[in-house]
Amino acid sequence: MTTPELRQPRTGDPVALDDRARDNLRFIRETMERAGSFTAVPGWGGVAIGITALGAAVIASRQTSELAWLMTWLGEAVVAVCIAAWTTLTKAREAGGSLFSGPGRRFVYSFAPPLFVGAVVTVVLARIGYTEAAPGVWLLLYGTGVVTGGAFSIRIVPLMGLCFMVLGTVALFCPWSWGNAFLAGGFGALHVAFGGLIARKYGG
């Protein structure tokens, strides 16, 4: 994202008082959006999601049927979405509410499409009996969403997305039995590590 121009337009330039006023309003809006996205990602939420994902990995690894395994991770996805929504909203409210609509909306717009693709592909994989490929696909697409959504945020966010993408790609070319370990490493460890970093460095 471009930095709003800090240079003061020349005063005493008579031509366009209203242009300058418009420019000032734009500057304020851009600064607010940048400052908003600066901390719009809830770090502690990421840590919480990571911990629940580690728990889900333990439970999932004990399941014997494919369906129960899938349901465990779907349940975890629902829990994660709830945590993310709650922490994001809390954070937005603390920081003055509606002003977050800009960066927040953009994040959702670029984050949602890859997740939708992930859901569709999961259904297809389940139908043809290839759920073993799901962990890699999930990590890859979730990473894609974070990279594109985080393109407007602090640099550490797209970096986290990139780590997910790398992990997902590796997972697709490794033995299927490692699936739970990859999911624990991605949704668990990566979330805890990056969430903690974001929370400590960027305030919550």
């Binding site: 800090l6 008082l17 000032n24 607010m32």
Partner: protein, 126 residues
């Protein structure tokens, strides 16, 4: 009606001839500007703090891409005006300065926004 139109035209010509604009209303509006928030760096500080409960010195510095000296001078000015509150603490052994917007600062920003909108409206109507 025609006379009024003529007057407006004459006014415009006058303006473009002298290169100076400003019907009286706008001039007054410009003069009343809150100079404390009008300056770009200070406007950026106030805007950034308006959407965050608080920001540290380093966060502001990274966000606004300004130098230490520049930021501390402008932040102090905002502090002196009562627009920004500042708390100093230690994180481990590293001193940390944290800024937050005061009620007066929030009001000043709102007033400034109103002011800018009024300027744009005045030009559109004028």
């Amino acid at each position: 009606m025609a006379a009024k139109g003529g007057a407006i035209r004459a006014g415009r010509e006058e303006r473009s001839r002298r290169g100076a604009p400003t019907p009286r209303g706008r001039e007054a509006a410009a003069a009343n500007l809150d100079r404390i928030v009008h300056e770009r760096t200070r406007l950026a500080i106030v805007s950034a703090l308006a959407v965050n409960p608080s920001l540290t010195f380093n966060e502001l510095k990274g966000l606004l891409k300004v130098t230490d000296g520049n930021l501390s001078v402008h932040a102090r000015k905002l502090e002196e005006a009562g627009y920004v509150g500042c708390t100093k603490s230690f994180v481990g052994r590293v001193p940390q300065t944290e800024y937050r917007l005061s009620q007066a600062g929030r009001r000043a920003l709102e007033k400034y926004l109103d002011h800018m909108e009024a300027l744009i409206r005045a030009t559109r109507e004028g």
